[in-house]
């Protein structure tokens, strides 16, 4: 699958394309298939996303998972500060990244 990601212009937060909008939760991301470039252009022009790009991923029972560790770290947060990730209460959340 292909995922569309970028950063929120104002906050810089990592965001994922949900099919209709943007979410900070990768669980909400959808496969953009061949539509990625077109969506990217529209959303960037509208300033709803900054520095967008398309990545490879796979669908897992837990939801979409980026193929590259860099994007998995972007999706969750720094592996060395679990308290600053999107799942600070889940001690096993980091396993998803590595």
């Amino acid at each position: 699958m292909k995922l569309l990601t970028g950063n929120d212009l104002k906050s810089g937060a990592v965001i994922w394309w949900t099919g209709a909008d943007w979410s900070i939760h990768i669980e909400d991301a959808v496969d953009v298939d061949e539509q990625g470039e077109a969506i990217l252009a529209v959303e960037e022009a509208a300033r709803r996303v900054n520095a967008p790009y398309i990545i490879a991923g796979e669908m897992t029972p837990d939801g979409p998972r980026p193929a590259h560790i860099k994007d998995r770290i972007r999706a969750l947060g720094p592996t060395v500060r679990p308290d600053l990730t999107l799942k600070p209460a889940d001690p096993t959340a980091g396993d998803w990244v590595i």
Partner: protein, 543 residues
């Protein structure tokens, strides 16, 4: 410490106003990201993995308690309650919102700080010896010259768009605590026939193509220092490559021209530059230098230290350095607790260090390129009280220059350029070698980790260096031995095939075991490596 004059303050405030308007225009859609990116980078604002990252300049690593408290305030109000001190004596914040950036820069300007020229192809923050002005072994305080270079390089119209970024370090002691010869220009204030002058080393650097700067001129009269620096830059700006980012640094130009030809061209340019009269009048330099005068230290302060508390004595032996004034000392505060993140400090810790500086160190602090903090002017009689407060705050780890005093870049946990994580490797190594007796047995051992070839973690200059690479989507770590950023400067050599995260920790343990088996009396790790060479270590690592 240097205090801004009206020109400094006006320049910084004008930049805050300018950038505030640029941010407004970006958020309003009046300019695109392609147009905005170079503008934000000129103000130290990057877009990193999780958010915007702001890099704040700490000129030559010197700051006062008011400025340090502002750094804590920014961490607390605009970031996530911590900051990361960097290998260029700056501080970075990892979770900045674009819409907050103007307010942050205004807060910084209120304490004579900024983020200008902490990115881009310009002259970056001038770095220096973190013990400057206090070190027993310096011939003079190098910071007035660093400040002069700061003023000269700030918004220098000719050098705002160099072929590539440009880093300058200034020191004034034979012991190099600033990795001087691994800078684009390294300046050492030296003495010859009773006169002070500047030795210019040009064309050093780490990154993809590490090089040690050759000596270009052994003695430049100090009244010519700015002109000679400008001549060095002009030759680079004219002939440095702009067609290939990987060959754009001055080290490549000098390597290709040869040091002799580069020197000839600089000398020729210098004759012209000198005629322009850019070196300041003596009175102006004296005005700057007067602001770096030694604080009023009491030379009759007691020299004895009560070492009856064994933990305190351990800390004194490791973290306290000789001051030029009797009865005083330099305190090195470790930001490397076992299992911690090298260079990170919470806002509460930053505030505490500011409080200690104000009360015990004549209001001065320093940031070190090894990602630690220094209190430069402390009475020995106050050391115990300082240690107690540091210990309560988790800042009293006695590991300066030991294997757990690791330099590490933010790596793939934060940095968009990184190929591998640095911090977890640093944490695992520090934990493996946590036993202090074991660390002391190993002695001085500088371990440096970079998460990519750009070498922000100075891996080329580590006695043991680690470089994180991406091998088919998996983190892999190359091991280097034999580097040094000090006066015995050298570049590390890769041992062989790389390792995974746990494998690199095991490999380092095999290296240190081999060192203990091979070392002669009084040898540091680096000395043993240089004596016996790579082969026995390679045998120990790979079998």
């Amino acid at each position: 410490m240097y205090q801004y004059d009206e020109y400094d303050q006006a320049m910084v405030e004008a930049r805050v106003a300018e950038f505030s308007d640029q941010v407004r225009r970006r958020l309003a859609g009046e300019i695109t990201e392609d147009q905005f990116k170079p503008l934000r980078l000129m103000n130290g604002l990057y877009l990193q993995l999780h958010a915007y990252m702001l890099r704040v300049a700490v000129p030559y690593g010197t700051l006062d308690s008011r400025q340090m408290r502002m750094l804590a305030h920014i961490a607390r109000k605009y970031d996530r309650d911590y900051g990361h001190f960097t290998t260029r004596q700056n501080i970075q914040y990892n979770w900045i919102k674009l819409e907050d950036a103007p307010a942050i820069l205004a807060d910084l300007a209120s304490v004579e700080m900024h983020a200008i020229q902490t990115s881009g192809n310009c002259i970056r923050n001038i770095s220096s010896d973190q013990w400057a002005g206090a070190a027993a072994d310096e011939i003079t305080d190098p910071r007035p010259w660093a400040e002069l270079l700061r003023q000269w390089s700030s918004f220098h119209p000719e050098f705002s768009y160099l072929p590539r970024k440009f880093k300058i370090a200034v020191i004034a002691a034979d012991e190099d605590r600033a990795a001087m010869r691994l800078h684009d220009i390294g300046i050492q204030i030296v003495e010859k026939d009773g006169q002070h002058g500047a030795a210019f080393y040009v064309g050093g650097g780490m990154g993809r193509t590490p090089m040690i700067a050759p000596l270009i001129k052994d003695f430049v009269p100090l009244e010519d220092l700015l002109s000679y620096t400008e001549a060095c830059l002009r030759v680079y700006n004219r002939y440095g490559r702009r067609d290939n980012i990987y060959k754009a640094r001055i080290k490549i130009l000098i390597h290709e021209l040869g040091a002799d030809e580069y020197r000839r061209q600089v000398e020729e340019e210098f004759v012209h530059v000198k005629s322009l009269g850019i070196d300041p009048p003596k009175a102006e330099f004296d005005r700057i230098a007067a602001q770096f005068a030694m604080p009023p230290l009491d030379a009759s302060a007691p020299d004895a230290i009560d070492r009856s508390d064994p933990d305190f004595a351990l800390w004194v032996d490791r973290q306290v350095a000789a001051h030029k004034m009797p009865g005083h000392a330099i305190v090195n505060i470790s930001l490397k607790p076992v299992g911690g993140i090298p260079g990170d400090a919470s806002s509460a810790q930053i505030d505490l260090m500011a409080d200690l500086a104000e009360r015990y160190s004549h209001d001065e602090l320093r940031v070190t390129h090894a990602q630690n903090i220094v209190l430069p002017h402390v009475r020995k009689a106050d050391l115990y009280a300082i240690w107690q407060k540091l210990d309560e705050a988790g800042l009293a780890t006695p590991n300066l220059d030991l294997i757990s005093d690791i330099i590490a870049c933010p790596g793939l946990d934060y940095c968009s350029l990184a190929n591998a994580r640095s911090i977890p490797v640093a944490q695992k190594i520090a934990t493996r070698f946590a036993d202090l007796d074991r660390q002391k047995e190993l002695g001085e051992l500088k371990l440096k980790i970079s998460g990519c070839i750009n070498a922000c973690g100075h891996h080329h200059a580590g006695h043991i260096g680690i470089l994180g690479v991406d091998r088919k989507g998996t983190e892999n770590y190359q091991l280097l031995l034999g580097g040094s950023g000090a006066e015995d400067v050298s570049l590390g050599t890769i041992t062989g095939p790389g390792f995974d995260e746990d494998g690199i920790v095991d490999a380092i343990e095999r290296v240190t075991d081999k060192y203990l088996a091979e070392r002669a009396e009084g040898e540091r790790f680096l000395d043993t490596y240089r004596r016996v060479g790579m082969a026995p270590f390679k045998e120990a690592i790979y079998g």
